[in-house]
């Protein structure tokens, strides 16, 4: 067992867990933040994407111990306040960017990261770039059409 401490969605959290605990299991099972999902076991689907120290990470592929002391943000923590929505969350709703909702948290976490990176690099996030950036996130419901639209809209709302 190892004592794992990190800041999750702005709150300091500390739990004793088995050494081999994955970050996604730490988040879901220990912290009971179940918005982060597990859709595969080969780091392909992206349903588990969270931000660790400001970077998008597939939490199924990182040990909780590797996030020791980190600042972690999950889908439950992206909005500014309890009753607020992040502009990207609003964009997904307004553009029908989700159906069953299972891949959605990972999509939104990937989307906000991509917008931030492109902005920092001064690059244009056009449709082609959004589609290529979504390589690590699989959706089976929407056909991506409205997810791409949502991210473009969310990017403009985040500006």
């Amino acid at each position: 067992m190892t004592k794992i401490s990190m800041t999750v969605n702005g709150k300091a959290r500390s739990v004793d867990v088995p050494d081999n605990t994955l970050l996604v299991d730490f988040i879901r099972e220990n912290l009971r933040l179940t918005g982060t999902h597990v859709g595969c076991d080969t780091s392909q689907c992206g349903a588990c994407v969270v931000h660790v120290d400001g970077q998008a990470v597939k939490s199924c592929t990182m040990l909780a111990a590797a996030a020791q002391g980190a600042e972690v943000t999950t889908i439950e923590g992206v909005a500014a306040g309890k009753d607020d929505l992040h502009p990207m969350q609003t964009a997904f709703k307004e553009n029908h960017g989700l159906q069953c909702g299972f891949c959605t948290p990972g999509m939104i976490m990937t989307a906000t990261d991509m917008v931030k990176r492109y902005k920092e690099a001064g690059k244009t996030l056009d449709e082609h770039a959004i589609r290529e950036e979504l390589e690590g996130n699989i959706c089976r419901c929407t056909g991506y059409h409205n997810i791409v639209k949502s991210i473009a809209d969310g990017a403009s709302k985040m500006a």
């Binding site: 088995p18 081999n20 879901r28 099972e29 009971r32 933040l33 179940t34 918005g35 982060t36 999902h37 597990v38 859709g39 595969c40 076991d41 080969t42 392909q44 689907c45 349903a47 999950t74 889908i75 439950e76 909005a79 929505l85 969350q89 997904f92 709703k93 307004e94 029908h96 989700l98 159906q99 069953c100 909702g101 299972f102 891949c103 959605t104 948290p105 939104i108 449709e127 959004i130 589609r131 290529e132 979504l134 390589e135 996130n137 699989i138 959706c139 089976r140 419901c141 929407t142 056909g143 991506y144 059409h145 409205n146 997810i147 791409v148």
Partner: protein, 787 residues
């Protein structure tokens, strides 16, 4: 009237919980005293179980129990059954092999469950499952129909000689043969429909709790049809009687057919909960999902279509061999028969159609309904034949279709279906205009200047949804009725709960069903709550599959609303001292037409529950239920046009344009319908270009993860141009046809027709991977070189 009613693009009520991470899926649930199940699965495709040694596993940390098939059958848990009986040509019943939730004597596919470990944690259960020693006597295996039907092939079930499950036929053989014999032109093709893994993004999961004090079970499960699950678990598997079993399907992350069926894992979790007196949870890994979720399609067909000298179709004859896997899953037998061959007349006037279908066992996971279920197989076959025939006849593929379209309705096909409505030429024209087919030659020339091969392909699909009426499907072998139920509860404050037997796992019922009520009573959708997915709340229902929730589910709601409306009018007429015929409902009020006399909608609700002033003899309360059994299938149809560019150097296909014109009848929420079409087309493109569930000859699954099974990703597909050209369905009160599967049904032939047009070689099977397309291009080049 309501601006949130029928036809409005209302944003979804359910979205907030999903975008904030507050959805409640089965794996999110943790019960007190919960243990975890891990299954011991066969690594062999076909083997005798000689012995199982659980002693090492039982001694491991946290292990509660290790249970096997002998114990399961010893507790009288019944075998898993197929619920649709098919009769062979010779009158004999189908050969259903025994399927125990945990194998007792023999395993028949890689992943067949042999034992289960129940432990305190998921990791402990998995570790102990590794330590269960199963001694197998490995048998030869067979993984595809062409091998399974050969003489001397390994025998998978004793009661299915030659691995044959049934040999079924539809249509008129002699007349079709005669028509083909006199045909002026015949087109013949060998067509395979590739095997697919459905892959809803949420893996299957179950949390079962046996409450010893009440002798009662609760099952949370990833189901598209919780009431059907309860019925089957109770009536056939003897897990518990229905009144002692509550099944809840909470938020479900996609289904696509794979979550219709009742699998071994749910049965075992319920039984293991009783054995261990703990809640038992199992959640599939994606690797397990590839091995154990029912696959889809897997047909091998030969077809011949005959034309007269004026290019009218005179006959169509098809033989299909379908792989049903190692066991017969719940609706497996209906897919390659009544859900498939009944659509082989396509959108066309064909006097003579005959199809016979042989289904076989193989040492692979069971094959059952996957988005479209039989209709994609039919559409692919018919539309590949039409395009190929047009090329052979030297005529425009759109025009060959047009001259053969059914134009008069109702239209009785030779294969059971009676098409009730449609405007096939209207869809063709709309799609051609939107796709700018006229400008295609210029685009092709421009692509050629860049070294790309550009092609265009059509697909004019028709399908059948809302399978019914119950008496008819019963006569065809269905073990269930295919009606739907609804209950409308108007609360004393006027808010409304709709209880429905349909289930939403992405379709947006919480929004569209509320829109229906909003339309009827001119109330905001926020005052309307949709309740589904819980057998303790909703009395009964058949669930969601076959695009039935609109045409059947909403029709049931509509019927219940009729009854509520009638009672509301009676109460208002009584209170306002007017005639019922003069009562209208609008703007949140119930009014007397042409006067200023009115009462608030909520006041009618309150009147019904205070019962201080009701008409003589009227029961208090405002709650009505209805069961709706349709009079016919519905027939969504449309025209899809795909345009591709192929890189001849690499064989890579890019879909540069995809245009859809669909006829779904009445549309409640165009935003949601378009989303269904986008998703369906993408699954169809996945089937056409990249997806393939592959077993090697020995029955080992080669496509067992997202590293090997190629799912469509955002950069594989284009934006879509989707439009609607609808005719009203006369068969249900709302005029709806269904939109959930059309995209997946209609798109594969459009894609393959476009690629084969581009490369000039029609010999191309799905999935049209770059290597296959490249090889097909080389085949043409070699042929040209030889000339």
């Amino acid at each position: 009237m309501s601006d949130q009613g029928i036809g409005a693009r209302v944003l979804r009520k359910e979205d907030k919980r999903f975008i904030t991470g507050k959805g409640k899926y089965t794996d999110d649930i943790i019960e007190p005293n919960q243990a975890y199940a891990a299954f011991v699965r066969s690594p062999h495709a076909h083997a005798i179980i000689k012995s199982i040694d659980s002693s090492a596993a039982e001694a491991m940390d946290g292990v509660e129990a290790v249970l096997n098939g002998q114990q399961l059958t010893g507790d009288a848990i019944g075998n898993i059954i197929c619920g649709w009986g098919i009769t062979s040509k010779d009158g004999s019943p189908m050969n259903m092999g025994a399927w125990s939730a945990l194998a007792t004597d023999k395993v028949r596919y890689v992943g067949d469950a042999v034992a289960v470990v129940i432990a305190d944690s998921r990791a402990q259960a998995q570790a102990a499952a590794e330590a269960v020693m199963v001694d197998y006597d490995v048998l030869p295996a067979t993984s595809n129909v062409l091998a399974a039907m050969k003489e001397g092939a390994p025998q998978i079930h004793e009661n299915a000689p030659g691995n044959l499950i049934f040999d079924w036929e539809i249509g008129n053989k002699d007349e079709t043969d005669a028509a083909l014999a006199t045909a002026h032109h015949k087109t013949t093709m060998d067509i395979t429909n590739n095997r697919l893994s459905p892959n809803p993004m949420e893996p299957r999961s179950a949390v079962a709790t046996f409450n010893e004090a009440d002798d009662h079970y609760t099952l949370y499960t990833t189901s598209q049809n919780p009431h059907v699950a309860r019925l089957v678990l109770s009536a056939f598997y003897n897990v518990a009687p229905e009144h002692k079993l509550r099944v809840i399907a909470p938020d479900v992350g996609g289904g696509f057919g794979a979550k219709i069926f009742i699998y071994p894992e749910e049965i075992v979790c319920l039984w293991a909960s009783m054995k261990t007196n703990r809640s038992v949870k199992w959640t599939s890994s994606r690797s397990e999902a590839f091995l154990t979720d029912a696959h889809g399609r897997d047909h091998v067909s030969t077809a011949t279509m005959g034309f007269d000298k004026d290019n009218n179709i005179v006959g169509f004859k098809i033989n299909t061999k379908a792989n049903l896997g190692a066991y017969m899953s719940l609706f497996s037998s209906s897919v390659p028969t009544y859900l498939y061959a009944t659509l082989l007349s396509g959108q066309y006037n064909i006097a003579n159609v005959y199809c016979d279908v042989q289904t076989y066992y193989t040492n692979t996971v069971p094959v059952d309904a996957y988005r479209g279920a039989g209709r994609p197989e039919a559409a692919f076959l018919v539309e590949r034949m039409m395009e190929t025939a047009a090329r052979e006849l030297g005529v425009d593929p759109g025009e060959l279709r047009r001259q053969n379209f059914v134009t008069q309705f109702p239209h009785q096909t030779p294969v059971i279906m009676a098409y009730d409505s449609g405007d096939f030429a209207g869809n063709l024209d709309e799609a051609k205009a939107a796709a700018d087919v006229a400008g295609f030659p210029a685009r092709k020339a421009e692509a050629a200047s860049r070294g790309k091969l550009r092609g265009l392909g059509y697909s004019n699909y028709i399908e059948a949804c809302g399978i019914a009426p119950s008496a008819a499907v019963g006569s065809l072998g269905a073990g269930v009725g295919l009606w739907e139920s609804a209950e409308v509860r108007v609360n004393p404050v006027g808010t409304i709960e709709i209880l429905t037997g349909s289930h939403s796992h992405g379709q947006g019922h919480e929004t569209t069903f509320a829109q229906l009520v909003s339309e009827r009573f001119d109330l905001p959708t926020e005052n309307i709550q949709i309740v589904h997915g819980d057998t303790d709340k909703v009395q009964f229902g058949m669930g969601t599959y076959g695009s039935r929730s609109g045409a059947v589910g909403m029709s049931a709601i509509s019927k219940a609303l009729d009854k509520v409306e009638a009672k509301v009018k009676k109460i208002a007429a009584h209170v306002l001292e007017a005639s019922e015929d003069d009562i209208i409902i609008e703007g949140g009020e119930v009014k007397v037409k042409g006067t200023d006399k009115a009462m608030g909608w909520h006041e009618v609700g309150l009147s019904a529950y205070t019962a201080h002033n009701l008409p003589e003899g009227m029961e208090p309360g405002l709650k009505e239920g209805a069961f709706y059994d349709p009079t016919n299938f519905t027939f969504p149809a449309g025209c899809y046009i795909c345009e591709v560019e192929v890189d001849p150097a690499t064989g890579v296909t890019e879909i540069v344009q995809f245009t859809a014109s669909d006829d779904f009848g009445t549309i409640i929420n165009p935003m949601i319908v378009e989303g269904q079409v986008h998703g369906g087309i993408t699954q169809g493109i996945g089937q056409a270009l990249m997806e393939h569930a592959v077993y090697d000859d020995g029955g080992q699954l080669l496509s067992g993860s997202y590293m090997d099974y190629c799912m469509p990703r955002a950069d594989d597909v284009p934006n879509y141009t989707v439009s609607h050209h609808s005719t009203v369905c006369p068969g249900n009160p709302l005029g709806m046809k269904g939109c959930g599967e059309a995209g997946a049904i209609g798109s594969p032939p459009a894609v393959i027709n476009a690629i084969t047009d581009a490369i000039g070689n029609n010999n191309l099977h799905m999935p049209a991977t770059p290597s296959r397309v490249w090889a097909a291009i080389q085949q043409v080049s070699a042929a040209h070189a030889a000339e």
